[in-house]
Symmetry: C2
Subunit: 362 residues, 2 copies
């Protein structure tokens, strides 16, 4: 790929442009808002000049509802050899392109799984896609050359290609992204009118469950509006399970011992299914989370404490795979949990004890 056209210089479009420019591709930028093009150009994401002839690949990076008309217009003007979009939902844009008699051969739907809390070209970065899945949704009509151009784009961006059917993609993101977002918001919403004393008792569990409840409502309303059916189907299934859980809890409150027994079974079932589902969530580098063991260490709150512990771990030759800080409430001390390969636990613990660190027994 030697030339590309990015239509829509928001977070995703500008990030892709930055990655391509960094790998020597000549990138032309288009946006209905000239101010955004100026910003992207100033960041080094490409040129606002028109290309001399058709570019190799046009990347349409606009909200889902605008994808099809912009694609059809670009195709009619013959701006590129191949066309992809990067919208977070794939079924709707594909169908809309068909409705508008767009060309199916030169088009390929795609979705890089690299959302952020921020939007716009100023949030863009060349490494946004590094190591992330980038979904491609080819059909029987898709030209092989366009598929290869998209694979080259993904390689240049450092992402990992995943091929899926468009509707399967929409059901998948409904499951792994849109449903967790809404349920995080629903749990957090319960805190809105809670007593201050209750809120003080919040621990790391609710903190993790509600982290993404801080996301931008306008952006998420747009995403959910483009994928309402699959999300509603999964939420309805969760609602069914939730009703069962409420029934099981009411049974636990009953005077009838047999009913209470049924309640216990019902609640245990929810928790065990949660165990099974959680075990499938890939950890770092796609490995199972169970592959790591935790070493917990008491740390102070002075600058340098974290540096010192990581230096001590590094000096012992141990690779920290993940890290989590457990927050203390109202006090200046906390725990840090270091996740390491099981084989490295003994080495790390001995090294840290040697250097005077206080370990929490696991």
């Amino acid at each position: 790929m030697r030339t590309a056209l990015v239509v829509g210089t928001g977070l995703i479009g500008t990030s892709a442009a930055l990655a391509l420019v960094g790998r020597g591709v000549r990138v032309h930028l288009l946006d209905q808002d000239p101010e955004r093009v100026r910003t992207a150009t100033a960041l080094g994401a490409g040129t606002a000049d028109k290309p001399d002839g058709p570019v190799d690949l046009a990347i349409v990076a606009v909200p889902p509802a605008h994808v099809a008309p912009i694609l059809v217009d670009a195709q009619r003007r013959g701006l590129a050899r191949g066309y992809i979009d990067v919208a977070s939902v794939k079924g709707g844009p594909g169908r809309a392109l068909r409705d508008l008699d767009g060309d199916q051969v030169s088009y390929l739907g795609s979705h890089p799984m690299s959302g952020r809390e921020q939007n716009g070209p100023l949030a863009a970065t060349a490494d946004l896609f590094q190591g992330r899945p980038w979904v491609l949704t080819p059909t029987v009509e898709t030209d092989t050359e366009v598929l290869n151009l998209a694979l080259e784009l993904i390689a240049l961006c450092g992402a990992v290609p995943v091929v899926m059917d468009a509707d399967a993609h929409d059901r998948a993101v409904a499951l792994v992204s849109h449903t967790p977002q809404l349920l995080s918001s629903l749990v957090a919403a319960r805190l809105e009118s809670a007593d201050e004393t209750a809120v003080r008792l919040c621990g790391q569990g609710i903190r993790d469950v509600t982290r993404i409840a801080a996301s931008d409502p306008a952006m998420w309303t747009e995403i959910l509006s483009a994928n309402p059916g699959p999300v509603a189907d999964i939420l309805a299934a969760v609602a069914g399970d939730l009703d069962e859980a409420v029934r099981a809890l009411r049974a636990l409150d009953s005077a009838d011992e047999q009913k209470r027994g049924g309640g216990v079974t019902g609640i245990e079932d929810v928790l065990r299914r949660g165990n099974a589902g959680r075990a499938r969530v890939p950890g770092k580098h796609g490995q199972a989370p169970a592959a790591y063991r935790t070493v917990a260490v008491l740390i102070g709150d002075q600058p340098g404490e974290l540096a010192r512990i990581f230096a001590d771990a590094g000096a012992a030759g141990v690779n920290i795979e993940d890290v989590r800080i457990e927050h203390a409430t109202g006090q200046q001390a906390g725990h840090i949990q270091l996740m390491v390969d099981p084989g490295a636990v003994a080495v790390l613990e001995a090294a840290l004890r040697d250097r005077g660190w206080s370990l929490r027994q696991q």
Copy 2:
């Protein structure tokens, strides 16, 4: 406090014993399982010898359903001047003590907010309660001397006392601990039978939402069985909100523009209420989470990378308040997010750039 009796040498009982022994208190240990007492004694948590006379404070650390009979027995034998329990639910044990004609004057209900994934004396540690809230639920009958003994225990354990009504406590933990646990399990349960391709798309959002879904089903069934009413009430409210969300999503799928408008409003409302609730969750040291800004840095996966970045931050005099590693899937590189005071962002960014780190623009 010079002497204490710990009844029940599990995680909480043994941890409290270790903390008290470390502060010079003579601790006697009792458990129906002599093996557990031997383990706790071997860990240095106290003596298995019987006390010569009444101790200052007896700490009953047994599951909620066993608290009242064990308390009444201890009171009748006059084992202590004051009695507290540390069960995670407070209404039921208090009522059961009344039903068994236990003494209300020398008893005080309490709950240290220091759960862990592991159980038993081997998981115990003297610093388990450090900086954590420890709820006390005195009644009008509670003796002031017993309240002061409990406050001394909490101070010796390094915890932070919070006084609440017993039923208010049970509603609070239903909200901030029991409800998030069940909803995390319900989201994770949806992954149990998901396609492998869908699971590959999991990102940091669902990873955080489902972390506590890995918790022990047997332990959580016991906890939820002791607090079914308050949890069911909150889950029923969540179920109501969830039904509204499903209705809003179905409306977004409608051909009728006015219905779609209603759907947008409904979904935005859920997300905005989630924002408001999340903003109330205390961050580190009880501060609002918004007080920190994030600096994101690209890191490799070699040992020493984390040490190097923390050392560079420390050398710049910047205190890292929290840290999060964004996982790359199938690749050996990732991002680390350093959370710092807003005033330290510029200093940290300049220092890291100076040392050759590649920063992601925020």
